[in-house]
């Protein structure tokens, strides 16, 4: 039985270079075949989202249109490959992978249309409809997905006055300030709250 086919991973833009070469090699390697590490484009994208864009893995997974555990696996593989290249002085070639490129979408604030940029080499300077320069990159609102709502069922509670507020997505309870008394809040049912009682 063949395994289930991989889900297509979304990569927003191709990398600016197709690879990296080591320099100052102290030990000349004779075997060219074993001299390079093939970093897949999806691994490059995972690394870009997690370490360059500083997204958390949940949002990086949404960007790449894969599940969060899959993103973690792709990301782990990327780091492992890069570490291998660093330690063994191999060159990195970025290619392959089960991916598709997503051309960026824009929305015009003047006429309200949406448009994409099929030719990535050229920058969009004006709205193709009304020639207005008042357009912005269109980003789907991930915060409002149903999945997020389920994740946001936690409640933050103030240990001093007992006031509770629903936890805001993307913020830890310990970073929240109680609107009633100004103390630091904690997540409801956290272990130290139980000890406190």
């Amino acid at each position: 039985m063949s395994p289930r086919p991989l889900r297509l991973r979304k990569v927003s833009n191709p990398p600016v270079v197709s690879g990296f070469k080591p320099y100052g090699n102290k030990k000349k390697s004779s075997d060219d075949e074993n001299d390079s590490v093939f970093l897949h484009l999806e691994e490059y994208e995972a690394l870009r989202l997690c370490d360059y864009e500083m997204l958390d893995q949940y949002h990086a997974a949404l960007m790449m249109n894969v599940s969060r555990p899959t993103l973690t696996r792709i990301y782990a593989k990327a780091r492992q490959k890069i570490a291998e290249a660093f330690v063994l002085g191999k060159q990195i070639i970025i290619e392959g992978g089960k991916i598709y490129f997503d051309s960026e979408w824009y929305t015009c604030k003047t006429c309200g249309c949406y448009f994409n940029n099929p030719d990535k080499l050229e920058e969009i300077k004006e709205c193709p409809m009304c020639r207005s320069i008042n357009f912005v990159s269109y980003e789907p609102d991930y915060e409002k997905t149903e999945d997020t709502l389920i994740r946001c069922m936690d409640i933050c509670i103030c240990p001093s006055c007992g006031m509770g507020t629903p936890r805001r997505f993307g913020y830890a309870c310990k970073d929240e300030i109680c609107p009633g008394c100004g103390n630091k809040m904690v997540k409801k049912e956290a272990s130290h709250i139980r000890n406190f009682k």
Partner: protein, 105 residues
């Protein structure tokens, strides 16, 4: 440069068709010569594959932009490889004439 607009009819008073693959007419407008051509869509009642067939029709006219209300899932990768720009206009009341005036301004 040529622009294709999906239309519900074959004159300038017709409204923008909200579908791409199964629209009634394609209005192909040439920005240089200001000429307009209405092409009846042969894939209007197609069971499936209307989108890719329409892309082929449009691409054969050397169109560089397509204005429609919505694009199906098969279309995007095709148009990306042909370097045709998609413009989504969520306004079913917009007339073809109005869109052309916008493009000319």
């Amino acid at each position: 440069m040529k622009v294709a607009i999906t239309s519900t009819g074959n004159n300038l008073e017709s409204k923008l068709d909200q579908r791409f693959g199964r629209c009634s007419y394609f209005a192909v407008y040439d920005l240089e010569t200001k000429g307009i051509e209405f092409i009846p869509n042969p894939n209007k009642d197609a069971q499936e594959g209307a989108g890719p067939a329409s892309v082929q029709l449009i691409a054969s006219r050397n169109v560089q932009k397509i204005i429609s209300g919505e694009f199906g899932i098969k279309i995007k990768s095709l148009l990306d490889s042909l370097k045709i720009q998609m413009i989504v206009l969520k306004d079913p009341e917009k007339k073809i004439g109005e869109i052309i005036n916008m493009l000319n301004d």
